[in-house]
């Protein structure tokens, strides 16, 4: 029962990366000196996250973190996001957010070339949600909040 083989059929969605980040989310804390923050709200399932960004002198994202509770998918996605957007400009982060959304919805990402290619490789496990339409928003919630924070909006909803 404990062998990985017993759960083979679950691995399409719950790959090890997702389980790991879901169990031990990185940067899961409030940033006291955040320049930007935004809440993300998924009214359908009750998931809530808040994303914090500290911007560097060069305008790039120097540090990203998040707070909130939710399912393994939403925690893993938020956790990976905080790692992947650090060091990026707002435009690069937005490009990544849009590529992630495409991946989550369709399981494919034709635009995942060039600058975002490497980051998208790490996010690829989240493509599994495309088989579960009701779970797509779990994967995209933190990224909506990221975009709202970058736009200075303070609040995002997946509806």
């Amino acid at each position: 029962m404990t062998g990985a083989a017993a759960f083979d059929e679950l691995r399409d969605l719950y790959q090890e990366v997702i389980l790991d980040h879901g169990r031990h989310p990185r940067n899961h804390r409030r940033l006291a000196d955040a320049d930007r923050s935004a809440k993300g709200d998924n009214p359908m399932c009750g998931d809530r996250v808040e994303v914090f960004l500290r911007l560097g002198a060069d305008g790039r994202i120097a540090e990203a973190s998040f707070e909130g509770r939710g399912c393994a998918i939403s925690q893993a996605s938020a956790s990976l996001m905080t790692e992947l957007v650090s060091g990026r400009t707002a435009d690069e982060a937005k490009e990544l957010a849009s590529a992630l959304r495409s991946l989550a919805r369709t399981g494919a990402c034709p635009a995942c070339q060039g600058a975002v290619a490497e980051a998208m490789e790490r996010l690829a496990p989240l493509g599994g949600v495309s088989e579960y339409p009701s779970r797509v928003k779990c994967a995209t919630l933190a990224w909506h909040a990221l975009e709202a924070a970058l736009a200075g909006e303070g609040k995002a909803t997946t509806e």
Binding site: M1, F7, L10, L13, M44, C45, G46, A72, Y132
Partner: protein, 417 residues
């Protein structure tokens, strides 16, 4: 275990025969046989309902109450037969007390809009409970904000029962004019003590509306014996089609209420200066109704009643006992609500695993459960939870399905450990 109790009863439900009447139960999902444990959200449909609706479309259909022709007259009869069936189902005194609506939500909105504005006065209070479905919260909030009524909330105990002491206290000042409360919680499975609620409310000068969305599926309801004033339910949870539900009200109360929607069918005369309303229930049934759904609802009521309420109750009690026993064997499972009087709805959490992940993994094994807040966000907050998973049972649910649920839940736990 409890199986013995079912098998021992001479009059037990023949679940295999029942399942054979539900074509959808032969479906596979994600390569596994469907194990449908989400009947509290909406029940599957027996062949009798499907065939009644198909038969109407193939052989007997026209608009109703309007045509003078044969087809219209026959269709009107078929549709109105649903009113008789609903009257009998609820034990209502008169067939005219049955108002067809789209669903429970529309029934409660009708009541809030019409009774709420015409009979309740600013400063009057409406008393609901902390375990209501959003459909029995939001319409009253809207009435509060537009009409100046007060909205009071009777608390729920840790066991998931209505706190009757607090309930009585909230009635004390005599300002509550309507108690609107669920007959059975869609999250906790709790049945509310309706007889006492009605006695206390009436003594305090308040009318009582019961949300019977869940209860009507599992128990014989007799509105006259219960003594309530309004009763609402939705057809799709009672093995019937979507798009039709019932608001029952005592005739004198319905007669004192203004219409909700205006249009065809709800008037007796119309001129550009003024119109006169039709009699109840038609006053509340503007426009072409859900004709085919009415036909389907009648078939669903007939089908359910024919099962026998005693047998349905015994079956569901056995399923619930078995589910509670099996779930309690799994480390980390916590069941929400331990009411004395409860029905076949079991909400639970699994330590360290979010309810959405539980639901998705069960889904992967062919098991349909609901996960989330179950349209009862305030109740979730009351118990300090973001979400739960919920398994709910119907006449077609088997003990083996519950065993399968328990086995797969144990796997979910192992997977996330």
């Amino acid at each position: 275990m409890n199986d013995a109790r079912i098998l021992d009863r001479p009059a037990a439900l023949d679940v295999a025969a029942i399942r054979a009447q539900f074509p959808i139960l032969r479906e596979q999902v994600r390569g596994k046989p469907l194990v449908f444990l989400d009947s509290a959200a909406s029940a599957q449909k027996p062949r009798a309902v499907i065939e009644a609706m198909v038969h109407a479309m193939e052989h007997q259909y026209a608009n109703i109450h309007r045509g003078l022709h044969w087809m219209s007259e026959r269709t009107t009869e078929a549709y109105e037969a649903a009113r008789d069936a609903a009257q009998a189902l609820l034990g209502a005194k008169e067939r005219e007390e049955i108002v067809f609506v789209r669903n429970t939500t529309e029934g409660i909105n009708l009541l809030a809009h019409s009774y709420g504005r015409a009979v309740l006065k600013p400063g009057d209070a409406v008393l609901i409970s902390a375990m209501e479905h959003h459909s029995n919260i939001v319409p009253w909030q809207m009435l509060r904000d537009s009409h100046g009524i007060e909205l009071r909330i009777a608390p729920v105990t840790d066991a998931g029962e209505l706190d009757m002491e607090a309930f009585a206290t909230l009635l004390d000042d005599g300002r509550v004019k309507l108690v609107a409360i669920t007959h059975m919680s869609n999250v906790l499975g709790t049945y509310t003590p309706v007889e006492r609620i009605v006695a206390l409310a009436h003594e305090a000068g308040a009318k009582v509306m019961l949300d019977g969305s869940q209860a009507v599926v599992h128990r014989k309801v007799d509105v006259q014996a219960l003594g309530c004033d309004f009763y609402v339910f939705t057809g799709h949870k009672l093995y019937g089609p979507t798009g039709i539900g019932v608001l029952w009200g005592r005739r004198e109360l319905l007669e004192a209420m203004p219409p909700f929607l205006g249009g065809g069918d709800m008037i007796s005369t119309v001129s550009f200066e003024r119109s006169e309303w039709a009699k109840v229930p038609h006053k509340f049934e503007a426009g072409t109704p859900a004709i085919l759904e009415g036909v389907g609802l009648k078939a669903a009521i007939d089908w359910t009643v024919a099962l026998g309420w005693d047998r349905v109750a015994a079956h569901e009690q056995a399923l619930t006992d078995h589910a509670l026993a099996r779930l309690s064997e799994i480390e980390g499972v916590r069941v929400l609500g331990q009411a004395q009087d409860r029905g076949g709805v079991v909400s639970f959490t699994l330590d360290g695993v979010h309810a959405h992940d539980v639901a998705t993994i069960l889904d992967r094994q062919g098991i349909a459960v609901r996960a989330g807040q179950h349209c009862a966000e305030p109740l979730m907050r009351r118990f300090g939870l973001d979400s739960t998973a919920r398994a709910s049972f119907a006449a077609y649910t088997t003990m083996a399905e519950i065993d399968y649920l328990a086995e797969q839940l144990a796997r979910v736990r192992a997977f996330f450990r």
